[in-house]
């Protein structure tokens, strides 16, 4: 309440779209143009699936492939904050969480290769409406919401585009580069 009101636009895209289209096709990924404008890309993974030995490997593999497809199709990039959200975390409390720890460590390590391709890559454990266990209602939601409302690359001043002229470029093609040379401070050149 100490901050000015912020508007947040959430998309609610079906899981089938990600499973059947984004995962399988680069052109379908590029057709989902809203991704391009997203400040935040939250990839939800059902923790209950992670806790089940027969489904966990697919849950991890599909999530990784969806993220890779979005990055390689240039639909998300260095202006997008990526949050990996383990939902229904109440399903894996206690012993199950300990057993799952090494799977998650391996999974999170495998995502690090794309860390430089996005603005930030963070991991969150959430239980919005726990059905059992000690977690309170809305566990992990507040930090996630704070992240969504307070961090945006687009709130920062735009970075100058540094086009490097190619030897074969015509003079007209070098226009942008010459403009930058003029506007950039000397030490940046």
């Amino acid at each position: 309440l100490q901050q000015p009101a912020r508007h947040i636009l959430f998309t609610d895209i079906s899981g089938e779209t990600f499973r059947d289209q984004i995962r399988n096709s680069s052109s379908d990924t590029q057709a989902l143009s809203v991704l391009h404008r997203a400040d935040h890309f939250a990839l939800l993974i059902d923790a209950e699936q992670l806790s089940n030995p027969s489904t966990r490997q697919r849950a991890i593999t599909d999530s990784r492939l969806i993220l890779r497809s979005c990055i390689e199709s240039r639909m998300i990039g260095t202006a997008t904050h990526v949050e990996i959200v383990y939902s229904r975390w109440d399903c894996v409390m206690g012993e199950a969480a300990e057993r799952m720890a090494r799977f998650l460590a391996s999974f999170e390590d495998s995502l690090r290769e794309w860390e430089a391709a996005v603005a930030t890559l963070t991991f969150h454990r959430v239980a919005a409406r726990p059905t059992s266990g000690p977690l309170p209602v809305g566990y992990g939601v507040e930090p996630l919401l704070r992240c969504w409302t307070e961090v945006s690359e687009r709130d920062r001043p735009p970075q100058p585009h540094r086009a490097t002229p190619q030897a074969a470029d015509r003079e007209m093609m070098r226009y942008l580069w010459r403009e930058e040379m003029v506007t950039l401070p000397l030490e940046a050149l």
Partner: protein, 293 residues
């Protein structure tokens, strides 16, 4: 572009291998393995077969997209290793080459252009009866324990009943007839379901064989053919368990589900060691394709 064709009779594990290969190429889970540099535009088929593989289910029979699948490979440090096309044809098409002595125009072009071959044989399909054992199967003969054998019901012979080795060798002869003579083509011979091959071998001799020794002992005609035709084939044997175990065995499945790294269920055995890397045969084929033969 290197064109590798995979050859094998039905149920020899070609598609299961492809599913495991796709997982390793895409996930980069295996240290030192080749990897896929950029995702293919259309990944539906590859993901479909991987979905089954990763869920510990039998990989569905092949409904390959036209033109097969293409991989743009990089070596572990990220340098381009090669681009390969991999037509995943159903085993029935190879069986019909033997029974009908016919292949398609498209396959003919692929054979002529191929820079490497992956030949799959499966220990579970292999009929290992030897000539010396034939007597005991004749009506009225006695088995080793002295009991009379019951004559088997008479079955009309069909070409598909021919011994596995004879069919496989004939498929290779078809290839050599179609290709320009003089340049041997590299051939990675994959004994699939290697875990089962080892079980059979252990039952026979109590030892874990190298894949090439298994070929020599269990498929001697194929082994002799390849050795006698060095001017046609430069070959290397691999034992690959793409599933990593027997899906009908609960213990095997439970063991595989516990791997933190999915690819670690894959076993690739060569004469000089073992790994989880199904790109090893591809790497060797690429090396051969890039070297003077």
């Amino acid at each position: 572009v290197n064109l590798f064709i995979s050859i094998g009779l039905p149920n020899t594990g070609k598609t299961t291998f492809l599913a495991a290969l796709w997982h390793v190429l895409e996930s980069r889970e295996v240290d030192g393995a080749l990897w896929q540099r950029g995702l293919q535009a259309d990944r539906e088929y590859l993901n479909k077969i991987r979905d089954a593989w990763i869920a510990f289910e039998q990989v569905p029979r092949t409904e390959t997209p036209v033109g097969g699948v293409t991989f743009d490979l990089a070596d572990p440090v990220g340098s381009a290793a090669g681009r390969i096309e991999f037509p995943d044809l159903p085993g029935e098409s190879f069986r019909s080459q033997w029974t009908d002595r016919h292949w398609s125009e498209e396959f003919d072009q692929r054979v002529r252009a191929a820079t490497g071959i992956l030949l799959f044989v499966a220990p579970t399909l292999h009929d290992s009866r030897l000539i010396m054992e034939a007597d005991s199967r004749l009506p009225g003969s006695t088995s080793a324990d002295g009991a009379s054998t019951t004559p088997p019901a008479e079955v009309a012979w069909k070409a598909k009943h021919a011994p596995t080795q004879a069919q496989v060798v004939e498929l290779l002869q078809f290839l050599t007839n179609a290709r320009e003579p003089g340049t041997p083509i590299p051939l990675a011979l994959v004994v699939s379901a290697w875990d089962q091959a080892e079980r059979f071998a252990a039952y026979d001799s109590g030892a874990d064989p190298a894949p090439v020794d298994w070929i020599e002992a269990r498929m001697p005609l194929l082994w002799q053919y390849l050795r006698a035709n060095a001017e046609c084939f430069r070959w290397r044997a691999y034992g690959i368990s793409a599933q990593g175990g027997d899906l009908d065995e609960e213990d095997d499945v439970t063991r595989m589900q516990e791997y933190a790294v999915t690819s670690h269920r894959i076993r690739v055995v060569e004469a000089d060691g073992e790994s989880h890397d199904p790109t090893r045969p591809l790497r060797w084929l690429l090396e051969c394709a890039g070297s003077e033969m």
